[in-house]
């Protein structure tokens, strides 16, 4: 499937009024053990594999709901929680998603096609 995109440098740099939604999902060890998630793991069954599947599931949900309301998924990032972030809970990863509402339609289209705008940086360092 091929699409024609304008060059990134052609998109204007400007100050815009937008609404920004920040969503944070705590993924615990118990969440990774739920049957629904295990049934979706395609290869292996290690915690890393289950976490990878969970991140994929979260990204799908975020993208679907964001585009339903004509927004843009600006980023989906996985961070390894430190001791303070865990707060005595068995949190293995925190997935942070940022949605933007008020950006140009061209950006929304490019993000929807998975090109350039929405980068999913996954960094698994589960301790």
């Amino acid at each position: 499937m091929s699409h024609e995109y304008p060059d990134l440098e052609l998109w204007s740099n400007e100050v815009r009024a937008i609404s920004c939604a920040s969503i944070s999902v705590e993924v615990t060890a118990d969440d990774l053990r739920c049957p629904m998630l295990q049934s979706r793991v395609t290869s292996g069954n290690s915690q890393d594999e289950r976490l990878s599947t969970a991140v994929h599931l979260i990204t799908q949900r975020v993208q679907y709901e964001a585009y339903k309301y004509e927004g843009t998924v600006l980023s989906v990032r996985v961070v390894t929680p430190n001791k303070a972030m865990r707060d005595r809970k068995p949190v293995v990863a925190i997935v942070n998603a940022v949605l933007g509402y008020g950006l140009p339609p061209l950006v929304r289209v490019a993000a929807y096609c998975g090109r350039t705008v929405a980068t999913v940086n996954t960094y698994f360092a589960v301790s």
Partner: protein, 134 residues
């Protein structure tokens, strides 16, 4: 002021609530135990940010790989500004338990003012945050 929709504040809030409901699941479909969302509205700088990979030295790239990290210095479309930070801050307050939002989305005062006539907006829980329920 350039805007895509007149009701971007409401769209952002509804999307955040929808993501939250989907990821939390229900009694028959438990998914993730803790999902928090914060919404803020205001001015941001939008455009192509970051540097191109070719502008980074090979030593920096190899050092990042050797450290076991990913190399994310890419030029892409993004937004930066206080609004993004404020949304993340509200989200962080919920995660730390400073705001009790069991079935609500926390929005800043600008967003609450904009969506006041569209969505049910509760009393402000702090001077700069309100809760929205659909």
């Amino acid at each position: 002021m350039i805007q895509a929709h007149e009701d971007d504040c409401a769209r952002a809030t509804l999307a955040a609530l929808a993501v939250r409901a989907e990821l939390l699941g229900n009694e028959s479909r438990t998914q993730f135990s803790a999902v928090s969302c914060g919404v803020a509205s205001g001015y941001v700088f939008s455009g192509a940010l970051g540097c191109t990979t070719s502008a980074i030295s090979a030593e920096s790239r190899s050092a990042a790989s050797a450290a076991g990290g990913f190399f994310s210095a890419t030029r892409r479309y993004d937004v930066i500004g206080d609004t993004v930070e404020r949304a993340a801050s509200i989200c962080s307050q919920i995660r730390q338990g400073k705001l009790d939002c069991s079935s609500w989305a926390a929005v800043d005062d600008t967003t609450a003012e904009a969506i006041g006539s569209m969505l049910a907006c509760s009393k402000a829980v702090s001077c700069r945050t309100a809760l929205v329920y659909v």
